[in-house]
């Protein structure tokens, strides 16, 4: 099981606290909204919208260092393009992990 981390953000910020804080702030404000949108789209069952939601979250997954999670999201996004929900459960597990993590940063 992999866990989110701030390695990428730290590396990018290169010791500049304002950049680091800015990126963390964006994750903390945007991720809950994107998660909400995703579940709304799932409820509606509109595949292009779900795909769009997954695509947006995917970038944050990679920024938080979840390499396997990124692959899972990628596969799910690809399946959604084919109107297939395979990978939904694994993707939603990642959402839970990130939700927990961003409370700690």
């Amino acid at each position: 099981m992999e866990f989110p981390n701030l390695e990428y953000i730290n590396q990018l910020a290169g010791g500049d606290a304002s950049i680091k804080n800015k990126l963390i702030h964006i994750i903390k404000t945007e991720f809950p909204e994107e998660k909400k949108e995703y579940y709304k789209s799932i409820k509606l069952g509109v595949f292009p919208r779900i795909e769009e939601n997954v695509h947006r979250v995917k970038h944050k997954i990679s920024i938080l260092g979840l390499t396997k999670g990124y692959e899972i999201a990628n596969t799910f996004e690809y399946n959604l393009r084919k109107l297939n929900l395979n990978g939904k459960e694994d993707f939603e597990k990642i959402l839970i992990v990130i939700t927990q993590y961003i409370k700690t940063i």
Partner: protein, 235 residues
């Protein structure tokens, strides 16, 4: 180099700006959450380089590229390289970068954009390149398939797609006749109708306003007929 950033994700824009700040030769003039706002800006301002996200809702990066009249150099930003394939048909696309962006790779792309000037200065024209190349690649279901140009006998427009008929197989590709026409050697191919490009070497016979190629009877536009006749080796 004066540049702009187009990406619907705020996070991506902040990261790009951070990376650009590390390169002295780059000056970020503006960043845009969508392509439409960027087009309005480009109508009034000149830039040297655009960082462009391909996957954006509504008017996406490819739509944006197609809308440009005098495109500057463009570096694509994407989380899926397959989205970048179509865009590489254009000379002004320098490179593509995968999200999340890494500084070393970013620096390489910037270096490439400087080298691209040299390539353009070497005066390599589309026509000379077309004459040299004997094949090209098409993207189907995330695969790149090599097509041997002389094996193509007919290309037909089908809405947003084109059907490429070759000696061995037919292919349906998301593209336009105009785009593929730019890649074909003029010596071999001719657009004889708004929906058809033919390989002149594969013509079996011509009758009134139609051409027989293999088993396909293809209409010839009145305006294209003189050009067709000129290109035939008449006895």
């Amino acid at each position: 180099m004066k540049c702009i950033i187009i990406d619907d994700e705020k996070m991506a824009r902040v990261i790009l700006k951070t990376l650009c700040n590390e390169i002295q030769s780059l000056e970020v003039l503006e960043d845009f959450p969508n392509a439409i706002e960027a087009i309005k800006y480009l109508n009034k301002n000149r830039v040297d380089l655009i960082f462009l996200d391909i996957h954006m809702p509504g008017f996406n990066g490819l739509d944006f590229i197609r809308s440009l009249k005098n495109p500057p150099k463009i570096i694509l930003i994407t989380s899926d390289p397959n989205f970048a394939i179509e865009a590489f048909e254009y000379d002004f696309i320098i490179d593509y970068l995968l999200k999340p962006l890494q500084f070393d790779r970013f620096k390489k792309a910037i270096e490439k954009s400087k080298t691209k000037n040299l390539t353009l200065a070497s005066n390599e024209t589309n026509s000379s390149r077309k004459a040299i190349e004997n094949d090209f690649y098409i993207s189907i279901d995330r695969r790149l398939i090599k097509i041997d140009l002389p094996s193509i006998y007919l290309i037909e427009a089908k809405g947003d797609y084109i059907k490429i008929k070759t000696e061995n197989k037919d292919y349906i590709v998301h593209s336009t006749l105009k785009k593929i026409e730019e890649k074909l050697p003029d010596s071999l191919f001719l657009k004889i109708h708004r929906s058809f490009i033919i390989n002149l070497k594969k013509i079996i016979d011509i009758e009134d306003n139609s051409v027989l190629i293999k088993k396909d009877v293809i209409p010839v536009s009145r305006s294209k007929r003189p050009e067709l006749m000129k290109r035939l080796d008449l006895l």
